[in-house]
């Protein structure tokens, strides 16, 4: 039951953020779905008492995988899905606590929170990168066609 509530709220949170970022109207439900799936993976990992860095990594990984799938299917740039999907995973609470402890002149705790937020951003970045590379490799093996990962490779571009 808890998971269903989390899913519904993350769906609406992401979908309404899409309106603020002005995503094309027809893809807004898919954006919501991407955000909700990423959040559910993150939430489950946290409930299983795994380290938070792992949870953020897995969440970002799933978000990027789903975003690429939808980007291919709906012929819309991947950024539309990934931007809104990633927002729930931004460590806003940690950043807030960092700032709050600094304001209260509790510098040791503030630094701890800051370092945690920093590590999480690293996990975040690696999640996006890994999923992108793995997805492209997967598509390459399945289709053996031209993948958009080659657009990362400046030498092969446009051939």
């Amino acid at each position: 039951m808890d998971y269903i509530i989390q899913f519904i709220f993350s769906f609406f949170a992401t979908a309404s953020l899409c309106v603020i970022f002005n995503a094309p109207t027809r893809v807004i439900p898919y954006c919501g779905l991407v955000g909700a799936l990423g959040w559910i993976i993150f939430y489950t990992t946290m409930e299983l008492k795994m380290p938070e860095v792992t949870a953020y990594f897995l969440g970002a990984f799933v978000v990027a995988i789903c975003a690429q799938g939808f980007a291919r299917k709906l012929k819309t740039p991947m950024i539309v899905f990934i931007v809104s999907g990633i927002i729930p995973l931004v460590p806003g609470g940690l950043a807030y606590n960092t700032m709050r402890y600094f304001v209260e002149q509790n510098y040791a705790l503030g630094l701890e929170m800051g370092i945690r937020a920093f590590l999480i951003s690293g996990a975040f970045a690696m999640g996006i990168v890994f999923s992108e590379v793995i997805f492209q490799l997967f598509v390459h093996f399945v289709k053996n066609g031209i993948t958009s990962m080659q657009s990362f490779d400046r030498n092969k571009r446009g051939q």
Binding site: L17, F21, G93, Y96, R100, F102
Partner: protein, 250 residues
């Protein structure tokens, strides 16, 4: 020969316009470069480009002209990115000609695709209330987060229109959010001020900048990645200081 020169001029303008619209709407740097090069190849032109978040340099070859365009402001407008992407796809598949593409790009540049302000503010308020639940807040706090998020976002839009200084409007918006959260708790309409503030601040978080900074870095655009990362950091800092101003007095 004269015809060719005109065509090259048109192509240069068209490519730069596409790049400018995408960059101003907050696309990734490597995507902007990729789109411009793809469009150039579809017209049998050999283009080279250098894209940064503040300007684009594009040349069509050794013997050809080079043009620079500067990018003053960057907002998030995913609709425009999708539109330009669509035009570039059509041009590459030769569904439309260069002239048609240029006209359509001009139209896209002029049009405002944003939804009306009241809808944006309402959506910001809804997402604030939803984020409160995601961050383990209580249902009792939802109206407070709703109002705080809406007030914060309308402050952002208003100050942005008034001053055009992005960091100041973010500072002021988070100040309003913290103030309304404090008032809600003070008058008994909310329980946890921390959760309300975190939920209501989420619509202001620079998610686009963070994602783009990371993805540009992977693609090898280190300059653009660092520039965007700095912008994200400054945004986070202005949001944090806006909240801190209120927290100091509690």
């Amino acid at each position: 020969m004269i015809y060719n020169e005109q065509k090259d001029d048109l192509a240069l303008d068209c490519l730069l316009l596409a790049g400018q619209i995408m960059m101003e709407s907050g696309a990734e740097t490597y995507r902007v470069e990729d789109t411009m090069i793809r469009m150039a190849h579809s017209q049998n032109l050999d283009a080279q480009s250098y894209v940064t978040p503040t300007g684009i340099i594009l040349t069509l070859g050794k013997q050809q002209k080079t043009k620079i365009i500067s990018i003053a402001s960057r907002i998030t407008d995913l609709h425009k990115i999708a539109k330009v992407n669509n035009i570039s796809r059509k041009l590459t598949l030769k569904i439309i000609t260069l002239e048609e593409a240029y006209d359509e790009l001009r139209l896209i540049q002029k049009t405002n695709y944003f939804l009306p302000f009241y809808l944006q503010i309402f959506m910001a308020a809804v997402s604030s209330a939803c984020f409160l639940i995601l961050f383990k807040g209580t249902y009792f706090d939802m109206p407070a987060a709703f109002v705080a998020g809406g007030a914060g976002y309308s402050a952002l839009l208003f100050i942005q229109k008034l001053t055009k200084v992005k960091f100041f409007s973010e500072f002021f918006a988070s100040f309003i959010i913290a103030l309304s959260a404090f008032c809600a708790v003070y008058f008994g309409y909310g329980l946890e001020i921390d959760k309300i503030i975190i939920g209501a601040v989420m619509p202001l978080v620079p998610g686009v900048l963070i994602t783009n900074a990371v993805r540009d870095m992977i693609a090898g655009h280190l300059t653009a990645g660092i520039a965007k990362g700095t912008e994200a950091l400054l945004t986070a800092f202005s949001i944090g200081s806006g909240v801190a101003v209120v927290l100091v007095f509690i």
